[in-house]
Amino acid sequence: MTPAEIGATHAPGHAPHGDRAHAHAEEYQPVFTGAARAELDALLTRYPTRMAALLPALWIVQRERGWVSEGAMTEVAHVLELTPAYVKGVVTFYTMYHQHPVGRYFVQVCTTSPCGACGAEDVVRAFLEHTGTRELGVTSPDGKFTVIEVECLGACGFATPVMVNDEFHESVTADRVQDILSKLE
């Protein structure tokens, strides 16, 4: 059976989730079509079971959509022949999968002890101010930024480290913040 057909497994008597679940709500657009599908198919060849590809599949979703919605969890479940509840269990166990939409730029500032000693608090404050998000975890009104504090980013020698999406900045101080942000479109 092909993964796309698994959909119907989950609702005996009825059309699969994709067809009916969002009949009224906004139509859910599947992630795994075209290139993303091809990427996943290539991934699957590297694992012994479909289940084993769950974490990378979720990464693809997060990269494509910015976050992992409940609809996407269900889609991943169908594609990998898992149950939606199982996928949600995994998504909610890890902190790095976003369960809510975040800004286009997701800023993670390390505030663990060494960084704290080197002024990480100020860096956080500067990010909150210059991005206009004002609060940790809140997305700026223009949808561009979300800032959070994280535990150790593993660069204590270069405090304060900051990650903007996948980009790593070392030895960030409050006055460098504007410079970092200005390089983002």
Binding site: I6, T9, H10, P12, A15, D19, H24, L82, A85, V87
Partner: protein, 993 residues
């Protein structure tokens, strides 16, 4: 084998047994929370930790294999202190105050009491939350009492193989979730209630115990009565929780290996028994107005005005059909969203599909004396004036063996006719005729557990098991998970077809071509079992010649299944090594039903896939007692145990047993259902017990005409059914919970159901009614209880010889043949020989013949009919069950999205389906399960009766009609008419915010 000591007592256990098994074997109760029978062992709750000599730390009893020489102490100081500690920690997030207030109410609280644990410090964490399924009509969650034992998660994933539930979030935020979005529907929930069964705290509970409608009863003490589910042929054993005179809840046994379900149920068994308490239950006999008694005789002197108004009988169909959805009073909002309330703003939900008030109008309430007098008088009058064969009886696959036996005895010995039949005719009669011809048997050769645990390949044909027999469907999914290969032949892409290793998606009714081609391929590869063929069968060479022209390519052109799939399936099946073969209505309900089953039997016999443990032949029976009713002689050709009525020596035996002269019993086989209800049948009077032919017969509009012309009709049922509207006398019977009796499931297991509550009002036990009637028409009955009847059945039924109620009570059920009073029953048959004269089976060559009616220009669609998960047959019971009805409230036709797009109809639109015989209006459900140009119409709805459309073409041997194929056309009628109902149903139960 290991011998160990538990609390100073020696115990010997089988290899692989755990310390827990050892302790329970000698009656030592080690407490457990996460452990549950048949669930995978996770060992996460830590309350079963015990001391083992030589081990520095405590060991989990549930997860530690018992070893020789172990010395185990279950209640050592360390073990008890640990247990108290664990329970104490669980209590920190549990509403423990209520334990003191109202005593221990559940498994967990009883354990807390037992160890005298109290809350010493609150952790400061709030009570646990989780998805609550608000508004769900059957199952709800109150996660404040959840202790995260994960029994529900494992029960859903590993027993039912659905996987709705899981644990999400981490640390102290961990909670039980429902699917990804809290909506059980999106997660594939089937509302089986397995989670309710296993929950030790009531965090997951049933909201629709029948208590909803019997609040006073809940104050009374509870007792538990073992019964058998009244729905399908799996024969699940249930425990009815009785308070006062009401069944308030269905539990299921903790576990018993001997029961077919081992405690599992499906949604119908657990939540579908509130029909018993439905206000529509008949409580007094009803007599058609116009019957009057003059000079000691009853006569029909209907007022001409009344006759004009009502007709001589009920109906007509146009009135029934006229009660379309729009005219019926229904809640305007989604019933799932509201808690069921009695007498709320929407009125009593039980009225939604109630018997319309005007159906009662042609009747008056009568006394039992009057009703029985009329029935007895009319039966004897017709017998004496028009001959015995002017009368016929429909027994019931829903009634017990004892009742069916007494009823066929009454008609055979009291009236003198063999016109005795029941709905097996519409069900597995073609299987029976083919199996009788091939190997002189009429039932399954193996057992369900055997298929689940032993078969290497499972070949399932024309059976939507996960919906029609859900508990067995789950067993098949477990079998597949164990490693068994699954081949499914079905025109629809049903759940098991999607899971199958090979899905043979054929055009309806082309099974012979498929099966002949499979055999063709098997023979060509030399995979047939030559020793088996030589030693145990006749006729292989003829069959080999007959299948020679059926190449897989030819079968592909006929059936539409790719030839390479046919080849693969044939090889997989023949290589086994142990292949089981299961089939149901998809094979039998064709005008070539007997041929189709015969071609399947050829394949079974040629590959030797029978008579070995793990290679079972299992026609899956549809009703709780369709097997039993046939076994005790409720079919026209045979007495009990399929002893032919045409044999004078057998007749002599039965005449002796029943105390009548030989001549009273007819040597002519009687008429079958489809021969009785047809133009020109000699039958003038009928007695119908618990059947509803007005919905279940093919082309019912014609059937109705026939019923209108009857001279006398007595109907014996729970409700004023569609059929009862045509009756002269309606006798109120008893439901399954209101009587003792035995039922036979699909694997020949005779099981005993006990009376739990009294029948309502003046309604009487069915056996009591039949015994009185028998006495009144001059056939005395020496019985007073069902147990007495079983004694007589056993005395005239060789394969039931060792069956008594007492033994059934003791053993929890026996699989016949049970040859003597200590015989343990027979789980599988035909190890050495078939029950034929020379012990050999016969292969019968068959040729493919297309269905009687094929799509054409005018009627371009294939129509298929069948069952849905939430409803049952003519809906008499399930449509009066609130939970079930709220899940599936309107009749829907499954239409493929491509066809719908072509016609411009959307989900929920009303369409008119027209066949050559009639037409119905029905809501569309888009479903990729059906192939293009095929539609599936469920059979349950009187307002859109599939059988108005079906083709009454009959199988020449079994006289089973072709329910599964007819040609129809589909026209959109009212866009959006049903959208509100059919689409709303699938909206999230919990609003997204």
């Amino acid at each position: 084998m290991a011998t160990l000591t538990v609390n100073g007592t020696d115990v010997t256990v089988r290899d692989g047994a755990t310390i827990l098994d050892a302790a329970r074997q000698i009656g030592i109760d080690v407490p457990t929370l996460c452990w549950y029978p048949t669930l995978p062992i996770v060992g996460n709750c830590r309350v079963c930790l015990v001391s083992v000599e030589g081990s520095a730390k405590l060991l989990p009893a549930c997860a530690t294999t018992a070893a020789d020489g172990m010395k185990v102490t279950t209640e050592s100081y360390a073990a008890v202190e640990n247990r108290r500690g664990v329970l104490g920690m669980l209590l920190e997030r549990y509403p423990a105050e209520r334990i003191d207030e109202r005593g221990a109410q559940n498994e967990f609280e009883r354990m807390v009491k037992r160890y005298g644990v109290s809350v010493e410090n609150r952790s400061g964490l709030p009570l646990r939350a989780g998805d609550d399924r608000a508004g769900d009509p059957m199952i709800q969650h109150d996660m404040s009492t959840c202790i995260l034992c994960t029994r529900c998660v494992r029960a859903c994933a590993d027993i039912q193989v659905v996987g709705v539930l899981d644990v999400a979030y981490r640390g102290d935020h961990a909670e039980i979730i429902v699917g990804a979005d809290g909506n059980p529907e999106h997660a594939g929930c089937t509302w089986c209630g397995e989670c309710v069964r296993v929950c030790p705290t009531g965090a997951i509970h049933d909201v629709l115990p029948l208590a909803k409608f019997a609040r006073d009863a809940m104050q009374k003490p509870a007792t538990s009565v073992r019964s058998v589910c009244p729905y399908c042929g799996v024969g699940c054993q249930l425990d009815l929780e009785v308070r006062g005179t009401d069944v308030v809840r269905v539990n299921s046994p903790w576990i018993e290996e001997a029961t077919p379900n081992m405690g599992s149920t499906c949604v119908k068994g657990r939540f579908g028994t509130d029909f018993v308490l439905h206000r529509d239950r008949l409580t007094t006999p009803l007599i058609r107005k116009g019957w009057v008694k003059r000079d000691g005789r009853w006569r029909y002197e209907g007022d001409p005005a009344d006759v004009k108004r009502w007709g001589r009988r009920g109906g007509p169909w146009r009135d029934i059909e006229g009660e379309s959805n729009t005219q019926k009073s229904r809640p305007r909002i989604n019933p799932l969203r509201r808690l069921p309330t009695v007498g709320g703003p929407l009125g009593d939900p039980r009225d939604r599909v109630a018997t319309p008030a005007d159906w009662y109008e042609p009747f008056r309430e009568g006394t039992w004396e009057e009703a029985m007098e009329i029935v007895a008088q009319e039966l004897t009058r017709l017998r004496d004036s028009h001959g015995s064969d002017s009368l016929a009886v429909f027994c019931s696959a829903k009634c017990s063996n004892e009742e069916n036996y007494v009823l066929q005895r009454l008609f055979r010995a009291g009236i003198g006719t063999n016109n005795v039949d029941h709905c097996t005719r519409l069900c597995h009669s073609s299987s029976v005729s083919a199996m009788q011809r091939a190997m002189n048997t009429s039932a399954a050769s193996g057992s369900m557990r055997e298929v689940e645990c032993e078969s290497d390949v499972i070949f399932l044909l024309g059976a939507n098991t996960t919906e029609s027999h859900p508990v067995f469907g789950a067993a098949l999914k477990r079998a597949q998970r164990r490693g068994a290969k699954l081949i499914v032949a079905d025109p629809r892409r049903i759940e098991l077809a999607q899971r199958a290793d090979i899905h043979l998606q054929m055009l309806p009714g082309t099974d012979v071509a498929l099966l002949n081609a499979m055999l063709h391929h098997v023979i060509h590869l030399g995979l047939h079992d030559q020793a088996f063929i030589r030693e145990r069968t006749h006729g292989f060479d003829e069959v080999a010649r007959a299948v020679e022209p059926y190449t897989p390519e030819r079968a592909e052109t006929i059936s539409g299944i790719p030839a390479h799939l046919i080849r693969r399936a044939a090889e997989l099946y023949a290589r086994g090594p142990r292949s089981s073969t299961l089939w149901a209505m998809g094979l039998t309900q064709h005008r070539t039903g007997t041929d189709i089953v015969a071609s399947l039997l050829n394949l079974i016999l040629a590959t030797g896939m029978i008579g070995r443990w793990g290679a079972a032949m299992l026609p899956i029976r549809g009703q709780n007692n369709v097997q039993g009713a046939s076994d005790v002689g409720a079919i026209p050709m045979v007495y009990t145990d399929y002893q032919p009525v045409t044999d004078p020596s057998i007749r002599h035996r039965f005449a002796q047993a029943w105390g009548v002269p030989d001549e009273r019993l007819s040597l002519t086989p009687g008429l079958k259902v489809t021969q009785i209800v047809t133009k020109g049948s000699p039958v003038r009077g009928m007695y119908i017990m618990g059947e509803n032919p007005i919905i279940s017969d093919p082309d019912v509009a014609h059937a109705e005409e026939w019923f209108l012309g009857l001279e006398f009709l007595a109907v014996h049922d729970l409700f004023l059914t569609e059929t009862a509207r045509y009756a002269d006398v309606v006798l109120p019977g008893a439901s399954f919970a209101e009587k003792d009796g035995t039922y036979v499931n699909t694997e020949r297991r005779v099981q005993l159901a006990r009376k739990a509550i009294p029948a309502p009002g003046a309604a009487r036990g069915d056996l009591e009614i039949l015994l009185e009637l028998s006495n009144r028409i001059g056939l005395p009955t020496p019985f007073s209880t069902a147990a007495d009847v079983m004694e007589e059945i056993a005395s005239v039924t060789p394969s039931w010889r060792g069956i008594t109620h007492a033994r059934l009570q003791e053993t929890g059920g026996l699989q016949y043949p049970v040859e003597h009073a200590t015989h343990p029953g027979t789980a599988f048959l035909f190890a050495d020989r078939f029950p034929t004269a020379d012990g050999k089976a016969t292969l019968v060559p068959v040729e493919f013949l297309p269905p009687a009616e094929l799509p054409d220009e005018e009627f371009p669609f294939w129509m298929n009919t069948g069952r849905q998960l939430y409803h049952w047959h003519t809906g008499t019971m399930t449509r009066r069950s609130q939970g079930l009805d709220s899940r599936e409230p309107v009749p829907t036709v499954e239409l493929s999205p491509a066809d719908a797009a072509e016609m411009g109809v959307r989900d929920g639109d009303a369409v008119r389906i027209t066949s050559r015989r009639n037409s119905i209006e029905i809501a569309v459900r888009l479903s990729p399960r059906v192939a293009r140009h095929q539609v599936f119409v469920p059979m349950h709805y009187r307002e859109a009766a599939a059988n108005l459309l079906t083709n009454p073409a009959l199988d020449p041997y079994a006289h089973i009609p072709e329910f599964k194929v007819c040609a129809v056309r589909i026209e959109p009628v009212a866009p959006g008419r049903h959208r509100a109902l059919s689409v709303e149903r699938i909206e999230p139960l919990v609003p997204a915010d």
